[in-house]
Structures are given as structure tokens and as C-alpha cells.
């Protein structure tokens, strides 16, 4: 028998929404999915909150930004897609490195890369798409 992936979705309109909505959404997902390990929860929450924070901080237009999050929980892996209608990002996800120790910003994508198996960014039409994959632990 093949277990199908469970899908959880969230829509955000920032402002007034902020990353608090992502934390609350994930708390609900973990309640629905008690088999997800603490290690996986911590990794996914960090990755998804970092990506959403980046969108809100760097992608917001004068009238705000709208995001959609889709988290798929499969038998062997997790897949999260964050799409938004904000301005195009100018990042190289492959090159994301930790900055100097006393830097006060610039660690977000480097941390995401450390806790997922794959991080991709695509600009498709007027949409940014951030995809992360992580094997279940």
C-alpha cells in the first residue's frame, strides 16, 4: 500500500499577517501529524519561517505581499512550496553562506540550506516560488 501525501495549505496577506501566522499554522499541522519527529518539526519550522521572513522583508511591494504555503507530508519526505506575488528575488540559493560572526543579518538562506536537502528558487510569470525538500528523519 502506498500512503498518499497529506497536504496542508496556508494563505497570507502581509500586512496585516506576519510570520506569526506561519508558526500557528505549523502548530496545527503537527497536531494533525503526530508522527512527524521533533527534529523534522524544528527543521521545517526554521526553513519555512526563514523563507517567509525573507519574502516579507525583501519582496513586499508598496501595497504588501500575498503568499501561499503548501506543505506536503509524505511517507518518506516533506515538500514545501512558498509562492508569492512580491518583487523578484536576487539571490543565488547555491551560494548562500554564513556571513561574518558579528554580522547582524544575512544568515537566513544559509540556515535553510543546512536543514533541508534541496532549496530552489524560481521566478515564474509574476510569481516567486521557493521550494524545499527534506527527507523524513
Amino acid at each position: 500500500m502506498t500512503a498518499s501525501a497529506a497536504e496542508h495549505t496556508l494563505a497570507l496577506s502581509c500586512p496585516p499577517d506576519d510570520v506569526s501566522a506561519v508558526h500557528e499554522f505549523l502548530a496545527g499541522v503537527w497536531q494533525d501529524e503526530p508522527s512527524v519527529s521533533v527534529e523534522d518539526r524544528m527543521a521545517l519550522e526554521l526553513a519555512i519561517v526563514e523563507l517567509t521572513s525573507n519574502v516579507i522583508e525583501h519582496g513586499t511591494r508598496p501595497d504588501g505581499v500575498t503568499c501561499r504555503l503548501r506543505l506536503e507530508i509524505g511517507a518518506d519526505r516533506f515538500s514545501a512550496l512558498l509562492s508569492d506575488d512580491g518583487v523578484a528575488a536576487t539571490v543565488d540559493t547555491e551560494a548562500a553562506q554564513l556571513p561574518d560572526g558579528l554580522a547582524e543579518s544575512g544568515r537566513g538562506l544559509a540556515l535553510v540550506r543546512m536543514v533541508v536537502d534541496d532549496l530552489r528558487y524560481e521566478r515564474i510569470a509574476d510569481e516567486n516560488r521557493w521550494t524545499v525538500l527534506r527527507a523524513r528523519h
Partner: protein
Amino acid sequence: MDIVVHEAQPDTAVLECSGRLNMVSAPAFRETVAQVVGNGRSRVVVELSAVEFMDSSGLGALVGSLKTARQAGGDLRIAAPSEQVQMVLQLSNIDKILRTYPDGDAAVTDW
């Protein structure tokens, strides 16, 4: 997040934090440390046992607050990080920059 300031010594404060240290709360955290240091307590202990989530915005606020404390002749120490906070401190190598103590009392002694 909630921050309770304990004025432990004439030059030392313990900030008992709870909740999330992320992009929403980081500005208020920085502001609280700046006020504590501005009021003469430049030795700052940040107690993190009840912080269930910290991300790169939180790390930035800790590093910024460390600089604020050092510029005033003091320092900033972390006490009792939760499992999630420890993970982020280690991944980011900030555990090499910020000394971590098992609890607030241990951090307050031996400056």
C-alpha cells in the same frame, strides 16, 4: 515574546525571555537591551529556556545586543537555551561568539 527584566546586580541584568525570537519580536528585544544598558546595566544575561523558537532575525538581535553591551563596557551571555535555540546557535556558529551558561545564576557569577 515576553521579556521580564531582573535587575540582578547594580551592573547586571537578567532578561527572562519567553515565546518566539523572530522578525516580529527582534526589534523590541533590541530596544529592551538598549534600555537596560542605557540605564547602567551593561552586563546582560539573556535567559532563553522558555523561548521555543529563534531564527536568523533572533540571531541578528542577539549579535546586535552583544555589540551594544560591549560598547558600554559590558558583555552579553546566554543562559539555558531550549533545544531549538541550541540547534540554531550551533548551525550558525554563534555558539562560538556568545558564551552559554546552564542557567541565569551561573551566568551572573564570575564576570
